[in-house]
Symmetry: D2
């Protein structure tokens, strides 16, 4: 779905299944990882899940996580997405999240 | 872009222009409202901006706000999106955000 | 708990009870409103709940909402807080959230 | 500031300096790390910064990051905080964030 005006997005999302009757969410997040693996996008699981790529693909991957988590039985899902774009520098695909952390580390190591 | 498996999304997003040299963001948010008006989706501005509709259209509208705010000169943008979907009840298009507030008010008025 | 270096905070939080066995959250959010009413802080319920005041008091009010929602039976809670501070202008207590919306409306009405 | 009813919080925050005239935020985030180091709390920098401990201490550490970033010249700051508490299990201090990731990895490795 990426098009010529599709901004490159560096994102992090935190998906919360609701109404599940159990406080644990690890099973749902694991299912999301299987979906993200299929998306071909670069991702990394932490408090939220880092994900980056063309905006439309990042959005579709998160949407498909919702579909998968609903299919696993969660009647409602609330997700928080932090998403950033920039036009001042070209981001080498797949390096946006790592580069952010590295720039901070470089400053602190001086 | 809405398709058969496109979940209905009730969202709220908070867009932050970065590197603009001025702390005020009202001009950028006003530009976003013009974009949202064109999207045809239901929206309402508060701390963030409520927005609801098919997931792909909601995502595209926010993406287009980024495009517009970059075009206004912001080199970088960070947006926080809260987005919810549910399969336990059918949401009448355009009523998702209002209905959430009303259910709380109904409980408090008892 | 407000002290001399306690920044004035304009916030919006979205509290999500987890593991409750029911997708509806209106009852929990209503309980939060009762807590906020007692806090004496300015608040307003929408997608999230606007809340403003000295940072420590805003934080304590949200913490006490967690305590109340746990007491109502939710074993786990995930909250997303957007919180802003600024030093470029003095915010008249209780007007921070409304003023943000008004500045956007003023621009659009021109 | 931790008291008997101070919930243990597992959090992740993303701090955004506004009105700085430069899109880069690495210098500000590095300053935050120095503040967090002094707080004595467990933290880890990624897209956002993981931080955990008693709610009041977590809140104060983020507040002090705002103070430090304002002192560095940012006139306005917008922060997104994801914060979770739970009463169904005891969290060993300092292990909340790591344990969340590990439970997902354990499921996927089966």
């Amino acid at each position: 779905m990426s098009t010529s005006d599709d901004l490159y997005a560096v994102a992090d999302f935190c998906l919360i299944p609701m109404g599940t009757g159990e406080p644990s969410v690890a099973g749902y997040i694991a299912e999301c990882q299987r979906i993200l693996e299929k998306s071909g996008l670069k991702y990394k699981v932490g408090y939220g899940t880092n994900l980056e790529g063309p905006w439309s693909e990042v959005s579709k991957a998160i949407h498909d996580c919702h579909l998968a988590v609903h299919a696993q039985g969660a009647p409602r899902i609330a997700t928080d997405i932090r998403i950033g774009t920039r036009t001042d520098r070209q981001i080498v695909p797949g390096t946006g999240n790592e580069a952010k952390v590295k720039r901070v580390e470089d400053i602190l190591s001086k």
